[in-house]
Symmetry: D2
Subunit: 367 residues, 4 copies
């Protein structure tokens, strides 16, 4: 059991990397929300491998076929299912499975867990390809949030240790992030992005891979979404972020660096500005005790390097129970961070939309 | 809605800091599990303020009154409820609420969210005191895991930027951590603990507070607990960790540092040792794609400094809608990290126990 | 795992019949709802055995001790826990357990399921006494519904085959039902109630028991609560009704008799009355395809006779694996239907309140 | 929000009657379960309209296209999605919507709930066509249960008031029910089925419809599935049954008739037979206090007559807010009870499989 999440906004993923198709069902969006299919498709295309030097050679159309829940382009209030067919699969590249599990991949525990019945071609249901379905769900959540004045954007904060300028947590530059989406590596500092690109290509030349950090922000949030403890924004958003394959760390606001600060330096003072209660800085990242403060939500998500690399690696032969060597021949991204941006944005949107719906209910939206 | 979590092992928290009592109900433990009340109480006492120099002056007995679900000290398979009475409350310390919200606390969004109806004395349901109920639930989960050979321990990795030696992720020294529980600051390196203690007292002298990082490990895990995506170990454990008040960051294995590694350095090679498939290092922290690998699970959790400090702070008067000053007089820990250790251990235990029960079912345990 | 239900309004039961205490936590009520403790207590007293000829001899105060979630008598938006202490227990009456399971009780499967670890004194967690906690939760839901103009009332439709007049489903007489609450057997037809009372006493004289049917109605419902399929009103309400011990049948509107009607007779025609869309009859019981129509919701719930009777019965000795005789000596109601009325009302209220909250959200209520 | 149910075995429905396609995702089946696609298809064909005199004229292939979760015909442990394309739709038949809601249908509350955005062509997501997706999910659950020796079968107990012989609850004749599946009206008494067939045709000739009752049984159940209260077998099974469109009543064992029995007559005595604890009769229908007793589970489900009839009916014009007449021209079954049999069986299977998985866990099945 793996593929569903959410209380008021419920998402069910399905599909395998080399199966017939994959997709997602989103259940809980209120009736009356127009879905701009072109915008949704453009959002998903940011995740697609476009044949460039920085991504996998596998090329898929990644156009959603929405088979339910929309009528004349508007939500009906019933489950919305989008399907993506798989076309460009090279299952023969995975002949080493299930005998020789790839280091860094879920192969070995998946084989044990499933008693050998898992379909691991192209990593099967464990594949990063499933993030296409996840992003589809996230794109629908983004549409709901946009209708309520809530915006979400992300940029690459670092790759291979090379750093972009961080966001101003008081006033994250959403427009600059959105503008950067067209760049090979979407950064605020163009030079940083160029250096990251070079680092990725260098790793690729070495048959190796690199990781990185995504920074994401949400603005326009109402005060008081969430709850203390288990329905806290931090808890639900982190649950979503850690559901994205390859994520190894998540922090909000000052995050880990808050651990070495004193309270007098960390606490964000309140003031009145333009008649509104705001904080004069935002080390909390817009979140206090599980609740939104109305300030921008800022989070950072750490991705490990791509697990599949062409370099020879040490593994074991499960059938012979001996050590063995492995060279993975399939097509893989030398760095998944860039394509992960819309996945992160969508994951954040799903968590916030769920909390928004719990607070506001699922009554039909007025056009 | 805030107080419940879990599928196969369900926890419901309740109570306020200055209300009559607080507690938790744990629903889903199988019948036949002996609960050692002395061990449970000792576990909770690690979280209790014992009147020392490093903790709040508020003194509570924190002895659980278990009113259901146990018969002759053994689980019946029905919900287990533990109650803790509140005794030592100084509600008059909170006269500044609900007018002047404390920076760094949930006061302001809680007031907005509740329309002013929240009970914020001692932070109410938002209080760190609720972690007593959370730790009670966690202690029960630990009993289940212990019966299955799964052990969990934690130490203080850093406070105020002073660092303990990190765990060896291949072989975390569980005994050393457990031995350290008796120290003022439970660290593996006694000197580091002493320096942390001095830093806490220095902050306290300054009417200020400090934060820190907890490192936790679980050993004896079976291979293949969890699932890809939403029921992944990372997702569920992080949901629990971020439910603990004051947590701002969570990472597994190499965590954020994995983001600057190359795949060839990050991937953990497999080998056969003593007839078992193991990895020769453990940067993954025992987790691959949401599944346990059978290697130790290692995580780090970042706590911001205590929000309540005696220093004068800038806030606003919500009634007058103007800026205002605030000095918080209540009794507070200058650092919550030490008392958070059992809360972190319990939170991890709850997540793992839930996944264990999904995999193994809730049939009665044999004595 | 047994004790929790609900999405937007979540209830967790706990406790055993002869344990220390029992209770319930209600999580999800919005902040700002005044709770009239006297009214709540009076509601629960309708379920209490008052020492009369028609109920068990076990006498408990059944006054809730609310330990969380209320501040100055108003909901805070956090979990509300009510505790009821057990006082008048005669555990020695249950010496035949766990060897000789009572026919008609959950004893035997509970022993098998729990591996013998269940606490079955007074039926333990399986006891009808738990309906006190359930009714407490229901009473809180009734308060929310009342604040929204939704009213719920019930009467005894039959006992031992003796029938009261059924409700007019177009216009159920809520006031008459509420007035009947003070009668020994709350019926609309006083004579029917008297005959039922005689039948109960006759069964009691024979050391036997009788069953019956409860009819319940809700008025003031908005149009369009619920959903098709799994979140349909019928599905959620029936889940609640069948959670009440001893319930063997549930029907809505014309119910089973609809199965022998033709569509032209069954379908409720629409008309406009006082500017509103209404139906001219109400065989649907206010429900179409999982959704409320705005007409009164009418349901009937069948209770089997009390399982515990003093007559000698055939059972088995589990230890000796042979047939055995059993005479149950404990104190039991000769008929539970009367005391079940508030439990049924509360169960219906919980289901409707959950759906109402999903539609309207959990924002703080305005006083 | 409407389309998902289940804890350990989770089902998500999607689709509309006249949309592109419909389907279901089943999440939680363990790895290693072979799925016989031919058997599954044959099971679904029992629900299909085959062009006969007793069913709708709408003809669909109703062959599942399974796009995920199976590998070489065996479950992988990941979500299984089946898709059914819609082909034979006459949307023009529904031109009266959304102005003139059909009596007996969800049209009116669905319009109000959705603010007019629902897609009601062919009843949209509310349509009985969705039971195809539901039955698909149920068919997968039946495969799991069959692998564990649990069998489920159903027959038509009554249509239009004409009654078949009821099952022997001690020993329901599963083979006889399965044999009857090939009959026009699957009954145990062939003559009764013939009379029902005549009654359906008579109603059809009158442009009218009839309802009926389905009786279903499960055998091979282990002792102790379920729980008291909310996870009781009765509660979960009834939630499923009332999720089937047109169901107005559900009862287990003696059901409503238990309400007029005395305890001494109702209680099922225990005895030892062939070394097993059994009851000498089965008025409880195999269920005591939410738990399976190991005896056959027997339930009856009442269906109202088909709502869509060709006879002129009274409704209203929502746009003009006046009374109006309505003749429904679409293609509809004069009686849905026959096609409902596999839906009922599947619904029961889903509830039991969920409880079975909670008790036994989701570890991979051994072939």
């Amino acid at each position: 059991m793996s593929g569903h999440i959410g209380k008021a906004l419920h998402v069910q993923l399905f599909g395998e990397s080399h199966g017939t198709a994959l997709g997602a069902t989103v259940d809980g969006l209120p009736a009356g929300l127009p879905i701009d299919i072109d915008a949704l498709t453009a959002f998903l295309q940011r995740r697609a491998a476009k044949g460039g030097e920085l991504a996998t050679g596998r090329m898929e159309a990644d156009i959603p076929r929405i088979i339910s829940g929309l009528h004349n382009g508007i939500t009906t209030g019933h489950p919305i299912t989008g399907i993506f067919e798989n076309a460009d699969t090279h299952s023969s590249d995975y002949g080493f499975l299930p005998d020789r599990p790839r280091p860094g991949h879920a192969d070995y525990p998946a084989i044990v867990k499933s008693g050998g019945f898992d379909d691991l071609r192209g990593s099967g249901h464990h594949s990063g390809r499933l993030t296409l379905a996840y992003a589809f769900a996230g794109g629908l959540a983004l549409a709901l949030l946009a209708s309520q004045g809530i915006r979400i954007a992300a940029h690459v904060l670092s790759i291979a240790g090379i750093e972009d300028v961080p966001l101003d947590p008081l006033k994250p530059d959403m427009a600059a992030m959105q503008k950067a989406y067209g760049m090979p590596v979407p950064t605020l500092d163009v030079q940083a992005g160029e250096r990251m690109r070079a680092a990725i290509l260098a790793a690729k030349d070495d048959s190796d891979s690199v990781g990185g950090v995504v920074e994401v922000a949400a603005t326009g949030l109402p005060v008081g979404l969430g709850a203390p403890f288990f329905d806290g924004v931090e808890a639900l958003v982190a649950e979503h972020f850690f559901s994205i394959p390859a994520v190894k760390g998540v922090e909000f606001g000052a995050g880990f660096s808050a651990s070495s600060m004193r309270g007098s330096a960390y606490n964000d003072p309140y003031t009145i500005r333009d008649g509104k209660v705001v904080t004069t800085k935002n080390d909390a990242g817009g979140l206090l005790g599980g609740l939104t403060t109305g300030m921008p939500l800022v989070a950072r998500i750490a991705f490990r390097p791509t697990a599949s690399i062409a370099l020879s690696q040490h593994t074991v032969s499960l059938s012979n129970h001996v050590d063995a060597a492995l060279e993975v021949r399939g097509r893989h991204d030398p760095c998944i961070v860039i394509r992960a941006l819309p996945v992160v944005e969508g994951a954040l949107a799903l968590a916030i939309a769920d909390l928004w719906l719990r607070q506001n209910g699922d009554r039909a939206l007025k056009e």
